[in-house]
Symmetry: C2
Subunit: 157 residues, 2 copies
DNA sequence: CCGTATCCATTCCGATACTG
DNA sequence: CAGTATCGGAATGGATACGG
């Protein structure tokens, strides 16, 4: 489990809130995006993001501390590499959701954007969609939040 | 399209970055979470989030300006309601991805958390997973980022 | 109950300079 | 190249006070 030092959960019993505490930050999300795209080095992130060095340094340190990146020092003691851990790689679904929401909602018809391709088909990756167990699309109105401590609804037992 | 006033894109051609500019903030994500859970009123958000009033007021204004929430004023001029727009409701997949990543990676085996139930089955909502067009699971190593301006790989044409 | 306004401490962030 | 250190302005965030 991710065990960040000195982090107080905003809402300890909600997984959305814990996730937001860990990765709910613009630079953090973009570093993960770049990591999933194969970037490893400080300068690669710096060039890609155009972020100040101290901020990049801070976010990389946080990501390592939170268990999303592993810092691999070089033999010469410098030029470390930052590789995704399993928990970090598991953010692929989240970043893809972000990307596809952005494609649907943050571009006009005429604007172009980068695309994520599935090499096995050569086509853009299909949209991620929540599905019910029977394969039906599941929307926000069909889902029900159950708080901890509350008994599950009859049908769930 | 979402047209926020006075917002400079961090990386205009990347949908992940545009999405992060719009919703890549802890309080914003948690307000969306609550909205998807049916919350509508200032005091509901305030009680749920424990956030300072000025911050909540600021984030609600931003979310309305960015087209994710609609402010519905009451007849008496006060007690507005904040309802999700279509673009806001479309964040369901993202919030669900956040939730499920948090469940997998931010809790130990013994800790309990809130659960999202699909009423049609009574069971927790199945995990959202990226799929290839042929129905195979798609991981980060099988996906390829194509920048704008670059020609698509042969197979994609 | 629904906010807005103000004060204050803290953090964020960019720019720059500096070290190995 | 890979950072750390520092400075200053801007934004964040909590607390409280205040009006509709």
């Amino acid at each position: 489990m991710l065990q960040p030092s000195g982090l107080e959960w905003t809402d300890p019993e909600c997984p959305v809130a814990r996730a937001a505490d860990l990765v709910g930050d613009k630079w953090t999300l973009l570093i993960i995006r770049d990591s999933l795209d194969g970037k490893r080095r400080f300068s690669e992130f710096e060039k890609s993001l155009g972020v100040a060095k101290n901020i990049l340094s801070d976010r990389l340190r946080l990501l390592v501390d939170r268990g999303l990146l592993a810092r691999i020092p070089n033999q010469s003691g410098t030029r470390s590499q930052y590789e995704l851990t399993d928990a970090g790689r598991d953010l692929f679904t989240l970043i893809l959701s972000l990307r596809q929401w952005g494609e649907r909602n943050a571009f006009t018809a005429g604007e172009s954007h980068s695309v994520l391709i599935d090499p096995s088909t050569g086509q853009p990756v299909p949209e991620v969609r929540p599905l019910s167990a029977d394969g039906q699309e599941l929307g926000p109105d069909q889902a029900l939040l159950v708080k901890v401590g509350q008994p599950l609804p009859e049908a769930a037992r």
